[in-house]
């Protein structure tokens, strides 16, 4: 790069800072937008509390009876008898007794035939240290319980945290892939652009569902997989957007000026151009987050969700069809409400951001 000027001059791009400040001012004036921002912030706070273990850390504890109804609507639940292990135990005993086989007729492994007989007997003696008292189980909970008697409140908190984590990091990953490839493609053009465009058209031509089933099949299950699968199937939109923007900006004056003072390609792409398209990235990011939070629900339903030691809103929703058939409506209702509020707020925030950051609107 022919550069004789050693001074690290930054050529001021057209004031993206002022755009951000102006956008913030506009957003604050927009009541719906600002309200949405507060709601989203609240969700993020709750999610952070759940991630850090301050909240809903014990969501897996079985604190209530199976399908304990919400306290206020205890009578609106179905009046099913929930069986427990003791019932089955007792019934098995009775069935044996009724079959006439007194216990002496029962056969099985004699101690003499068991290689572990002595240890089994000793283990029975030593078992006391491992006995634990079962805590009493609640009959009702504020938002009810699921099949295992877990508190829906805790579950939905933890689920929201997971869904947000999945949505945000999936969006971030998709956006990163899309931006880097789009920037390379738009900025350098030529053969590299052709190659990346080829990859882009291949990816957009293959049905999402198939990519999803294929990716999910290779890479185990869990949050990581969900994030990667979602990112790999949704980076194309950002790629197209960023490619067009970089194509447009690379011939702008300020970039040429940067070239003149010897800024490297990387510096021009990511230090000069990127900040000028960042408002688009922000909008794209929040749009993707919303889409991915919903996408996760479908993934969970198809059996590609998070593992059983984790819970997400989608995983909770996937339990809904079976519960609804039995008349247990509370988990589905809770998840639907929590998810709707989050997604609605996020969408409205996206709209407001788009308006607030649009440089055309004065």
């Amino acid at each position: 790069m022919p550069s004789s000027n050693p001074l690290p001059l930054t050529v001021a791009p057209p004031s993206h800072n002022s755009l951000a400040r102006q956008g913030w001012r506009r957003l604050r004036r927009d009541r719906i937008g600002f309200g949405s921002l507060c709601i989203v912030a609240l969700y993020l706070l709750l999610a952070m509390a759940a991630w850090s273990g301050l909240l809903a850390r014990h969501w897996q504890d079985e604190v209530a009876k199976p399908f304990a109804p919400p306290t206020l609507f205890a009578n609106l639940g179905p009046q099913h008898v929930e069986l427990n292990a003791a019932d089955i135990d007792a019934a098995n005993q009775r069935r044996r007794a009724a079959a006439g086989s007194d216990s002496s007729a029962a056969t099985g492994l004699d101690a003499s035939e068991d290689p572990l007989a002595a240890d089994m007997a000793a283990a029975q003696q030593q078992a006391a240290q491992y006995h634990s008292e079962e805590a009493p189980k609640a009959d009702t909970l504020p938002l009810g319980a699921d099949q295992r008697g877990r508190d829906i409140r805790q579950k939905v908190l933890q689920g929201t945290a997971t869904s947000l984590l999945v949505g945000l990091s999936g969006a971030l990953l998709a956006l990163t892939i899309g931006t880097v490839l789009g920037a390379l493609s738009g900025y350098f053009g030529g053969l590299l652009d052709d190659l990346l465009m080829w990859g882009y058209s291949v990816f957009t031509s293959v049905p999402d569902m198939l990519l999803l089933l294929a990716f999910a099949a290779v890479s185990g299950r869990g949050i990581g997989t969900v994030v990667v699968v979602m990112a790999l199937t949704s980076w194309t939109g950002s790629y197209r957007l960023m490619r067009a923007e970089f194509l447009k900006h690379k011939s702008r004056e300020y970039v040429r000026a940067a070239d003149a003072i010897g800024a490297s390609h990387g510096r021009r792409m990511f230090h000069h151009i990127l900040p000028n398209v960042s408002h688009l990235l922000l909008v794209q990011f929040s749009m993707l987050t919303v889409a991915l939070i919903k996408y996760e629900a479908i993934l969970s339903f198809l059996g590609f969700g998070v593992g059983i030691t984790q819970v997400s809103l989608g995983a909770m929703l996937a339990e809904a069809p079976a519960e609804l058939l039995q008349g247990y409506w509370w988990q589905m209702l809770t998840v639907t409400v929590v998810m709707s509020v989050l997604v609605t707020a996020f969408s409205l925030l996206t709209d407001s951001l788009r308006d607030a950051l649009d440089p055309k609107v004065k």
Partner: protein, 589 residues
């Protein structure tokens, strides 16, 4: 009138189809998984078999009402069996015809002994790649040579085989290499129904879509994975219902509806494939289906379950008032989890390995899963052979008592110490983690939560390996799995079908646990030579004890199936081995 004309008329009378089926009656049923096709030598899934059962005729079949299930004559009389249990001679009834097909070039095509010989040989043909070949491989005298001669190519069906001999047009003689008194129940499977060679050869590339048999129904329409329509076979021989009722009141109702009537009753059967529970159950409630199993999620809505005795159920009032009929039946199946016995962590027969497996078995709450997942509609498994199958021992207690505390103490005794992170390590100081394979459905997830709970109680790390069935099966065959759950349903009602699951020669095949135990093998081989009876039961008990001591399996449960029928459905009785009862059903709306 000359003699010939009279004979022709007489013949016409006997051949005249019974035309009993009312073509205006349509039976609507559903299956909860897709079928694959209708070539009996090519399909093994339950759903395809259920359809094939209605299209093809095996030599012998089961009585509709008799319990325990009883084999009766079908297209053949019950065979004469030689004293050593090796030679079976069948006499095919004359005057049975295949359903019309273009391959017969407009002629009526009579069913003969050669058709059964052909149909059995197809299971040996390498190009057919029958999933049932394990039932016939090495079974018939002289068949091995034929298979060897075929190599990877097609079998030469015209080469005579001593063990599968067509004595005359109506006589088939099967000669076995080993004594086997239970062979007849294998031949009663839908897989051994008669196909016509002309039809198979005319549709060589697509035998799955062109089923032509002698059974009560024929395939009218097939939309793979979505809809199957059967229509009464107009040329079906006259079959009059003559089953004898037992003590069951259901039997009397069936007899009342069907006594003296020709089968089948219903002219058209429409089978929908509905995989989700919600549409399946709601369709039944809205009378879009006439008969349906009760999906797990609807059990509590449909049944009033007595908590004192969960198997004592009655139909919920709202459905009983409508006159719906409930029928229940314990399945001839076992559900269990197995360990990979060749695995360095969970396999092996040293005491510490047995202790690990035993502890896991003691920590899994079978009764809790029966209560919460099965809704009480299952019994614990205590013997390898389930009730309703010859060789079952109801007094045997094979499952260890649920006792996670003692299981922990047992692990302590064998050096599985609790490490710094609160989880156990192996006696040699290496970290301990067990991997459990599982499917990905919502139901799998419910089970996995109980496994997680069991392993948490033992303080052992548990990882899940989730995947499609075929991927897991492949991984298991390559010895890459540690634990996996399996369900085995009776192919035929004999204990051998279950005891072979742990025979070392079936390792990597049906012996999914790769269990290899010389004592077990010796007892199993001895049991093959015996007919069902106390002598064989003694061997079965000894084999069960080996399995309980070595713990290659964790015994699970045996489901009790609940089926509902609309009030206007007559003639329904669940059968433990027949997949369907469609030919016996009548609709009186």
């Amino acid at each position: 009138m000359n003699k010939h004309a009279l004979l022709a008329m007489l013949a016409a009378c006997t051949l005249l189809p019974a035309t009993a089926a009312d073509m205006n009656k349509v039976l609507h049923v559903a299956m909860n998984a897709p079928e694959t096709g209708f070539d009996p030598a090519k399909v093994s899934d339950l759903y395809s078999s259920a359809i094939n059962e209605n299209i093809y005729d095996p030599l012998v079949s089961y009585d509709y009402l008799a319990r325990p299930a009883k084999l009766v004559a079908n297209t053949s009389t019950l065979p004469s069996v030689s004293v050593d249990g090796k030679v079976y001679t069948f006499h095919i009834k004359p005057g049975i015809y295949f359903a019309d097909d273009a391959a017969f070039k407009g002629k009526k095509r009579e069913l003969t002994a050669a058709d059964y010989a052909y149909s059995i040989k197809r299971h040996l043909d390498p190009t057919v790649r029958s999933p049932w070949s394990f039932l016939v491989d090495g079974r018939f005298v002289g068949a091995d040579e034929l298979v060897k001669a075929a190599g990877k190519g097609a079998l030469n069906y015209d080469t005579p085989v001593e063990g599968i001999k067509v004595v005359d047009k109506y006589t088939l003689q099967l000669t076995l290499t080993e004594t086997n008194f239970n062979f007849l129940s294998i031949l009663a499977m839908p897989a051994f129904g008669a196909v016509a060679r002309e039809v198979i050869e005319a549709n060589r590339d697509n035998t799955n879509a062109h089923p032509v048999g002698t059974g009560p129904y024929l395939l009218k329409e097939w939309k793979p994975g979505s809809k199957i329509v059967l229509e009464a076979n107009p040329g079906y021989r006259k079959v009059v219902f003559d089953s004898v009722p037992g003590n069951d009141p259901v039997d009397r109702a069936v007899v009342k509806a069907l006594q003296g009537k020709t089968l089948p009753r219903v002219g058209r059967v429409e089978v929908a494939i509905i995989e989700e529970e919600q549409p399946l159950w709601l369709s039944f409630l809205n009378r879009q289906l006439d008969v349906s199993g009760i999906p797990q999620a609807a059990l509590q809505d449909a049944l009033v379950i007595n908590p004192k005795n969960p198997l004592d159920v009655k139909l919920a009032d709202k459905y009983a008032r409508q006159g719906m009929q409930l029928q229940r039946q314990q399945m001839p199946e076992v559900n269990f989890h197995f360990f990979n016995m060749q695995d360095p962590v969970v396999g092996g027969d040293s005491k510490d390995k047995i202790a690990l497996r035993r502890a896991i078995a003691m920590a899994f709450p079978v009764n809790e899963t029966i209560a919460a997942i099965r809704r009480g509609q299952a019994v614990p498994m205590n013997y390898i052979v389930p009730a309703g199958v010859a060789g079952h021992n109801p007094a045997f207690r094979g499952a260890p008592k649920y006792d996670p505390a003692a299981a922990n103490a047992l692990l302590d005794r064998f050096g599985y110490r609790i490490g710094e992170d609160g989880y156990r390590i192996r006696p040699d100081g290496k970290p301990l983690a067990v991997e459990l394979a599982s499917g990905t459905t919502a139901l799998n997830k419910q089970w996995n939560e109980y496994w997680q709970q069991a392993f948490d109680k033992l303080k052992i790390h548990l990882n899940f390996k989730l995947g499609k069935w075929n991927e897991l099966a492949k991984a298991n065959q390559q010895g890459k799995l540690q634990m996996w759950g399996m369900a085995w349903g009776a192919d035929y009602p004999d204990g051998e079908n279950f005891m072979q699951l742990l025979y070392s020669k079936n390792a990597g095949d049906s012996n999914a646990a790769d269990f290899k135990n010389a004592d077990y093998d010796r007892l199993f081989e001895a049991s093959l030579k015996l007919p069902d009876g106390p002598e064989r039961n003694k061997l079965y008990d000894a084999m069960n004890k080996i399995v309980v001591a070595q713990q290659p399996w964790i015994f699970g449960d045996i489901r009790v199936r609940s089926t509902l029928a609309q009030p206007y459905v007559k003639g329904l009785k669940l059968h433990p081995l027949l997949n369907t009862s469609w030919r016996y059903l009548d609709l009186q709306k």
